[in-house]
Amino acid sequence: MPSQSDQLPAVSDKPVSAPATNPLANDPELLGDFILESREHLTSIELQLLTLDQDPGNAEAIHAVFRGFHTIKGMAGFLDLDAVRDVAHEVETILDLARNSQLAITSLVIDRVLESKDYLSRWMAALEAMLQSGKTPSVADPAALVSAIRELANPAGTATQVTVSLPSATAPVATTSELGGKFLLAPEEPAPAETPTNGLLDLARELASAPPDLAPEPSAAPVASENPEASRATEGRAANARSIKVDTAKLDYLVDMVGEMVIAQSLVNHDPDLHAAEKPRLARNLSQLARITDEVQRTAMSMRMIPVGQLFQKTARLVRDLSRKASKQVDLELSGEDTELDRNIVEELADPLMHMVRNAVDHGIETGAERVRAGKSATATVTLKAGHQAGHIVIQVSDDGRGLDCKKILKKARAAGLVEPDEQPSESDIFNLIFHPGLSTAEKITDVSGRGVGMDVVRKQVQKLRGRIEVQSTPGQGTTFLMKLPLTLAIIDGLVVGVGDQRYIMPIFAVREMLKPAEEAISTIQGRQEMAMVRGALLPLIRLHQRFGVNPRFEKPWESLLIVSESGGKQFCLMVDELIGKQEVVIKGLGETMRNIAGVAGGAILGDGRVGLILDLEGLFGAGEETGRHE
């Protein structure tokens, strides 16, 4: 076997390391994805190569291998991994010749492609090690491999070498032993353990690399000694098991079912018969069950969670581009990137977040000269912060710019007819005006923002995610936007309210307060539209029983309960019979047959197994004078 190594030219001992200048290359998230995806490709490449070894004419296999290398090449180019890209490129060239029947797939070709595949696997391992430990990846210079692959395209060279190549079945083993001798620069490289052949490969590699003096690469020895044998073995096996791809539909179903389990568990737990039994063992087991259910639920939920950092990373580029364009010096500070959010929310949040960052850089932050004049550092700071707060995720976007200009906003609002000339709204009311459609604080239209659409879209999007957005601002010191979002879209914190014999769930984030009004607080306008006076504000009153056509227990508003709710920035009172409780519910669709019912957002299974309807307040408030079917 050592004679085989003669086929490969000597490897240069200059290790290649990942360039540290490219911000993309330093993004651990992107790199992680790249590693994961490349490993998938490498695995399939190996399988296809083994197929090709048996059946060299298999065009489909050639295509598959080609595609794999092509994808890796593209991604590596994106991440500035030149060595990976070059090797993948050379292999792609060879395979392209093979695809066009200009090159026969010989064992030697397969050997070389497998070598390349192993080289790339080495890179993946090195990159992963870098992600974990922060050490710079050190993998052999690909020049030797590249020239070896190039040689394949030379028919004369191929002809002479075919004779020395091993029979197909043993070829991969030979290749690896070769690598063991020549490419032993990252011996801790975990070999994908998906095919039985790999056991052999591992063995061969280990055998070949065991005596350090066999490795001609001087820098290899210390690396090898650093890594204990044990970690090598486990790493190799775990490499592919670290993350798997799962259909989101399956995950959703799991989360759904877990939600049901939680409800069923709470049903059992609160069963009066069980409590009457007063058996300590039963109680102990029940609470054990409760704990486990809780844990299962949390785990199921966490599977759909991704860190918000990914989202923040995207804004980094934006801040750089914008600040350059506006000739402002802006630092972006991120914190709480590890905070996890439901994948759907993260996706939906991208646009609003971008918009707010854009606003901060474009409107919020002054030019360097202005800042110096105001006694601030010329470099402005935009901060993105994420964190948990009372079962919610709070994302904060703040800048240390000039802050919102109350007077300017008010002037604009008056000009747009949003505020009466003699009206003097409070400061927070004025700030909230920026969420109004058609109002923008930008004085002139710039390339990036200030077209008068913006914060209203942001607010709409945040509300769609069942979240809330607030703005705080201090003149001269900056503006802060706070977005409060639910952890997940699958579960909703609800108030269960009763009307007649029906029960409904109100999303708690929309509820401001609940009250039993005094009789004189209720008035009517033109004898029809009822209004309730709540804390000095006259709010429209909506009778839920009327909207939904059920028979209420109380007809008089002062006997029933008024829930002050907010939807689309407007407040109104919803009249229900009683408050039954507060419950976390799993949101379910009512199916396509009942998709677009005004005022109903979905259904949920309540504690007793019955279905309760989740109210859609926007729909309720908007849905004029329609009445239900039960007269």
Partner: protein
């Protein structure tokens, strides 16, 4: 609550699409039958949550082991007078083909009778009632032991646009 689950065979042979096993049930004075293959389960009447702004024959939604499915009262759908639900009242959960795939819907009937195997010879075409009487729901008729069973095309009975209330009712 008693339930009965019927497994769906892999493929519904279309040789004589009408011959096969039928589940018969009573509605008023009439006996109806639907193909057993469409029946997922039969359960007693349980609490139904009313859904506003739906046609009267849509009674609401129920919890079918964690899934929320709509329930249709077949009496009201066929224009029969509404009656109090009794011990014998059943919800037949059927699976129907709709535009976007398979949908489960509960159907309330007065009482479930039996499962019959009907040969193609026993099935007659729906008689022509003359103009004005639409019979799109009907697959045919079967006369068993002197009683007429009306074979329903449950897909058409519960066609989605009808449930949404945009249809004929």
């Amino acid at each position: 609550m008693e339930t009965m689950t019927v497994n769906e065979p892999a493929n519904l042979q279309k040789v004589d699409q009408r011959a096969g096993k039928y589940l018969t049930f009573g509605l008023g004075n009439e006996e109806f039958a639907i193909q057993v293959l469409r029946v997922r389960e039969i359960m007693g009447v349980q609490q139904i949550t009313a859904v506003p702004q739906t046609p009267g024959y849509v009674k609401g939604v129920i919890n079918l082991r964690g899934k929320v499915i709509p329930v249709v009262d077949l009496r009201l759908k066929f224009g029969l007078p509404e009656i109090e639900y009794t011990q014998r009242t059943c919800i037949i959960v059927v699976q129907i083909e709709s535009g976007s795939g398979k949908v489960q819907i509960g159907v309330i009937v007065d009482a479930v009778s039996e499962v019959l195997t009907l040969q193609s010879g026993e099935i007659e075409n729906t008689p022509d009632f003359g103009s004005g009487v639409a019979t799109p729901y009907l697959l045919g008729m079967a006369k068993i032991k002197g009683k007429v069973k009306i074979l329903l095309d449950i897909d058409k009975v519960l066609a989605v646009e009808d449930v949404e209330g945009l249809g004929s009712f």
